[in-house]
Subunit: 320 residues, 2 copies
């Protein structure tokens, strides 16, 4: 099988915004768009297209509630690098979305849990009719039973969605899990393009992304310097540096890291940090680790591990 | 094929010593031995058994020039965790080595470049006769031509060496390289147990180690919190947490990280750092990146990349 060319979808502003509450300056975002354009990255996810009316936290800045007027000011001249936004079920007001020809956005991605695939497909139908490229990203697949997944595939199969994502929200997948799910998606959705969104809790995000790509997955999510929630994502600079495609240039990404990411990492934390490794290993949502990292006990790793593995402390471990 | 049980060889003191010039306190090393013993780790490499007469830098502390008397003071009571030391060709005085029954050491590993395999085999013959378990670690395999490797295998095949290591000194291997070399070693050395020593320049050390293990490689090198030269090694805590073997316990390793490694990492640097990523990607020795990190230009990543990729700046790139 010949491997389709990868399309890198850089999620730094969107997934990284979960780290710093979208505290990115306009200059940061403009420099990033320029760097990704020069690097040959195909898509930049520039934030969430959620509605401030439907979600608290409207103080989080413009990248969480993208506005078309603002977006045109920030990215006044588009390059080959397309722009993407993510929407969450129940947090997007469809009336906020312009038809694609009037929008700076090219791609709208819909994130949902397995029980909301019907709602996601409904949104995708609408976005598709408005001319957008679309993806569906079913989150937390490591907590999904296969009969539910098979049922969801039936909905997705009938939808016009362009790309279906394998999402390892908890950073729990190893190569066998990645292999298994990609094969499953490929056999159940033979007509769909696939994507992968990996988290780096066990330092496997880059490896899982490469292995998925070699099996034919073409949309590869990443973020610069790995910036993303908790342990972060597959690193854009690793993909750009590693993948054999003459369009990719590593240097602009390195320049951006040097100019912006080192200082950002000084101010905010993400990456391979022990509590995130532990939640990845235990296949748990990172929120408990994020809470620990925000507390005075942030470095009490053994205690944290006890808490997550002792039934008397963590009720989730003792439910039958 | 059933996969042989892994044997974890923790190299923190030895390979990590290359980071901090072996500035480990006796308490640090004792706590580590206790932690690895409780964690079920099979081997702890406690340093180099080089001779201060044959190597400058005798100020580097006892872990670079292990002395049996000192070792017995440090590890007064041995657990199930065996002790290992590494020797370099030309830096070891064979007269320094006691017979195994008088030594605290169980395993002596011989590191060499491909052109010194004959000298390594000669040493191994001697150590073997003295009762030690032995390994041969051919370094920098990503710079070795296969005809030379095949020739080396002929020497190794005839030797009594217990374990032959696949060593990715430059952190350049991906899963295809790992797969290729492990298969090659297995077909050429069917009687030998194999080991892997990976570096983490591209965040692939853990993944490569797992993939090698699944192909039947059983000696897995790692270090706690990844501490090792430049980008460091596969993380011991990831192996202990991930591998399915009831003897392994993650908690003691987490406790050790909490007590010692966070402060050590504050003082010394290793891990995923851009210049190391670049040398890994370009399949170069990390020394040029280590020099850059020790200079005032440590964070000039784009300039560093230019230096390594421009023939007019890096003569190695223009030699034909």
């Amino acid at each position: 099988m010949s491997i389709p060319n990868a399309k890198i979808v850089d999620c730094t502003i969107r997934d990284g915004g979960l780290v710093n509450n979208w505290d990115f300056s306009v200059e940061f975002v403009q420099d990033m768009y320029r760097a990704l354009s020069l690097a040959g990255v195909e898509y930049m996810e520039i934030g969430y297209k959620n509605s401030p009316k439907l979600l608290k936290g409207a103080d989080a800045g413009p990248w969480r509630f993208l506005d078309e007027g603002f977006l045109r000011e920030v990215i006044s001249k588009k390059s080959d690098t397309k722009l993407s936004a993510l929407v969450d079920i129940g947090r997007v007001d469809e009336n906020d979305i312009l038809p694609r020809e009037q929008s700076a956005l090219d791609l709208i991605r819909v994130a949902c849990y397995i029980q909301d695939v019907d709602k996601a497909v409904d949104l995708i139908n609408k976005f598709h009719r408005m001319g957008y490229e679309t993806t569906i990203n079913i989150m937390a697949l490591s907590h999904v039973m296969e009969n539910d997944l098979v049922e969801a595939f039936e909905e997705i199969k009938k939808s016009p969605v362009d790309v279906v994502y394998v999402v390892d929200s908890y950073g729990n997948f190893d190569h066998k899990d990645t292999n298994y799910l990609v094969s499953k998606f490929q056999s159940m959705l033979p007509e769909k393009t696939l994507g992968i969104h990996a988290h780096n809790n066990m330092q496997l995000a880059f490896s899982n992304t490469l292995l998925a790509h070699e099996k034919g997955v073409s949309f590869l999510d990443s973020s610069v310097y790995g910036m993303g929630r908790a342990a972060g994502n597959c690193n854009t600079e690793l993909l750009v540096g590693y993948l054999k495609n003459p369009r990719y240039e590593l240097r602009p990404v390195l320049e951006f890291i040097e100019k912006h990411m080192l200082a950002t990492r000084e101010k905010w934390e993400w990456g391979y940090i022990i509590p995130y490794m532990v939640t990845g290993l235990l296949n748990e949502h990172p929120r408990v680790a994020m809470a620990a990292r925000a507390s005075a006990d942030k470095d009490k790793f053994a205690e944290f591990y006890d808490k997550l593995t002792s039934p008397e402390v963590n009720p989730a471990q003792s439910i039958e």
